[in-house]
Assembly symmetry: C2
Amino acid sequence: MVSYVVYGRGSFNQLDEILAPNRKAGAPVIFLLDHFFSAGSGGENKPLVNRIPLRGNDKIIFADVTCEPKTTYVDALAQQLKDEFGTISGIIGIGGGSVMDLAKAVSLMMNNPGSSAGYQGWDLVKNPGVYKAGIPTLSGTGAEVSRTCVLTGPTKKLGMNSDFTPFDQIVLDPELIAGAPANQRFYTGMDCYIHCIESLEGTYLNEFSKSYGEKALELCQHVFLEKNEWNEECDDKLMMASYAGGMSIAYSQVGVAHAVSYGLSYLLGTKHGIGNCIVMNHLEEYYPEGVAEFKRMVEKNKIDIPTGICKNLNDEQFETMINVSMGMKPLWENALGKDWEKIMTREKLRSLFEKF
Amino acid sequence: MVSYVVYGRGSFNQLDEILAPNRKAGAPVIFLLDHFFSAGSGGENKPLVNRIPLRGNDKIIFADVTCEPKTTYVDALAQQLKDEFGTISGIIGIGGGSVMDLAKAVSLMMNNPGSSAGYQGWDLVKNPGVYKAGIPTLSGTGAEVSRTCVLTGPTKKLGMNSDFTPFDQIVLDPELIAGAPANQRFYTGMDCYIHCIESLEGTYLNEFSKSYGEKALELCQHVFLEKNEWNEECDDKLMMASYAGGMSIAYSQVGVAHAVSYGLSYLLGTKHGIGNCIVMNHLEEYYPEGVAEFKRMVEKNKIDIPTGICKNLNDEQFETMINVSMGMKPLWENALGKDWEKIMTREKLRSLFEKF
C-alpha cells in the first residue's frame, strides 16, 4: 500500500516540504504533468504549473495522454531521463489516471532493465523503482492507490502489477480536481462507480473490499445523484470515493464492463473512463440495478455517452477486441464464476460489441 | 501508513512466507504474544502458540499486559533483546492493543538510544525501528494501523507518535478474534465505536476521516445492535471496523471519553477499553445520541459496566486524574472547540469523575 498519504484542501502546498527528505544531491525531481496543464492546452489559465516547487535541476515534463500510456512511451521517457541525468531523485505524477500510471511505470523502469512490455503481468518487476509520488487532478480511477499501472503493449493491455508499483506518497488535494471539465469528471468518476458495482456484485469479495466498495459507492451516489449542484463537498467526496474504490480492488476484481472496455481501448484507443461508460450502458443483463442507476446518473448530469463507435468495424477488428477482452480471465471469473466461458461465448461478446 | 496489509480468514498461515524476505542471517524474529495465549493462562487450550512459524533462534516472549504498556517495560524488553541477540530481524506483536503498542515501541527502542519515556510526544523518534508486524487477536483499538503506541511513562500517558511508529506489515485474520471473551470483545469493540462518535462529532474532521469513521460506525452498529447472535460475519466486520476506525483517527482526534478515561487509567490502571465504557456511560451532555446508542449496545449485549470505581478516592487522587485528563489539550479542543477550558472546568471534571 501507499506508505504516505496526505489528504486535504491546499495540501499541494506541502509538496516542497514532502519532497525535501527524498532529494539526492545532483539528482533532479521530475514532475510529470498532464499536458492539459501546458500552455498549448490553455495551461496559461491554469496556474498549477507555477505552483510546482522546482529546485536545482528539477524538470517538468508534460505527458501526452491523448492516448493511454503505451509501453513504448514509458520506455522512451525512462531512456530520456537516464540519458539526461543518469539517475533522478524521484518522479511526481500530476494528472489523471494515465499520468499516475505513467509515473509509476517510469519510476520502475529507471531501475529495471529492458522494456516495460517485459513486465506486464504479475510480480515480474524485480527491483524497486525510484521514489514516486502521485497527485491526482481527476478522481475516479483509483490509480493513486493501486498496485498496478495499466499499459498498452505490443501484445496486450495489462499493468505492471507488483509490490514495487504503488506510489511511496500520494497528495490528495480536492482543490486540484475542481477545474476538471464536467464530462471528463463524470467519465472518470464512473470508473469508480463501475469498479464498485463490479466488485460488490462479483464472486471475489471479502469484508475488506466490501467495506471500501460500499463507502465508495455511497460517495458516488451522493455526488452524482443526490446533489443538485457541484460544489467543494463534491470534490472532497469524489476524491475519497476514488481512493476507497481503488482500495476495494485490492481484494476483489473488476468485471464485465472493464473486460469489454479493454477490448475497445486496445483496438480503438477509447479512453478508459468513457469506454467503461459506453460498455456499462449495455450491461443490463449482468448488472441490472447498477446499470439502471448508472443511466439515472447519466441523465441527471446531462452527459452524452457516444454511440456507434463499432458500426464500421470489420470481422478482423471484432476478433481483435474479442481476443483482448476474453484474455481478461480473472475479470470474467469474478463476474460470472468459474464457468464463465459457458456464459460469455465469443458470439455473445461479438453481439455486445456490435451494440456500441 | 502500514505498507503491507493482508486481510482474510486463515491469512495467519501466510506468516512464515511473509517473514522470509525480512529475516537477516543470525538475527531472530521475536514473537511478542499476549500472555492470554500462554499455558499458565489456559493457553494449552489455545493452539495459536503452536502455529507460530519459528525458525533458527526465533523466540516467543509472552507479554504481560495485566497493566497497559509502561515505558519501563518497553525499555526492559528492548534491553533484554539487545543483551541476548545484539540485534533482531524483527518483532511480531500478536494480541490486543497493548501488545500492538508494546511491539511497536520495542521495535523503535532497538534502534533509538535512551528510554522510551524520552520519545513520548510527537515526532521525537529519530531512527526507524527494526521490522515490525502486528497481528490482532482483539479488534477495536485501531492500534494495528495507528501512528502511535500509547505508553504510561513516569510523568504521562502518551504515545511515541512518529512516521516510524506504524507497523511495516499487518495480518488481519478474523479467525484470530473469534475466541475472545465476550466482555473483553465488547470493551475493545467499544473503543472503536467511541472513536467514531468522538471523531464524527468533533471539530477536527475532513472527508478522509469522515468516510472511514462513518464506515467503522456502521460496522459497529451492525455487529453490536443489529445482529442477534455473534458469528463469523461479526468477526469479519469488527476487524474491519477497528481498521477503519484507526484510519479515521489519522485526520481527526478522539474526544471527551478518551481524555477522561486517560485520567482513570493513569491513576487506577483501568484498562483502556473498559475505562472508555465507564466514562461514555456518563457523557450524555456531550454526545447525547452516541451515549443513548452505547447504552442500547450495553443492554443488548448484556455487558456489565463497572460502577463505584472512584468512590473511595481522596482529593489528591482526583487532582492527579484531573491533571492528566486536562493535559490532553487536542482531545478537548476537538470535542469542545478552542474555548474548551471555559466549558470543561476543573470543577466540572471533578464532578464527572465522582460519578464513576
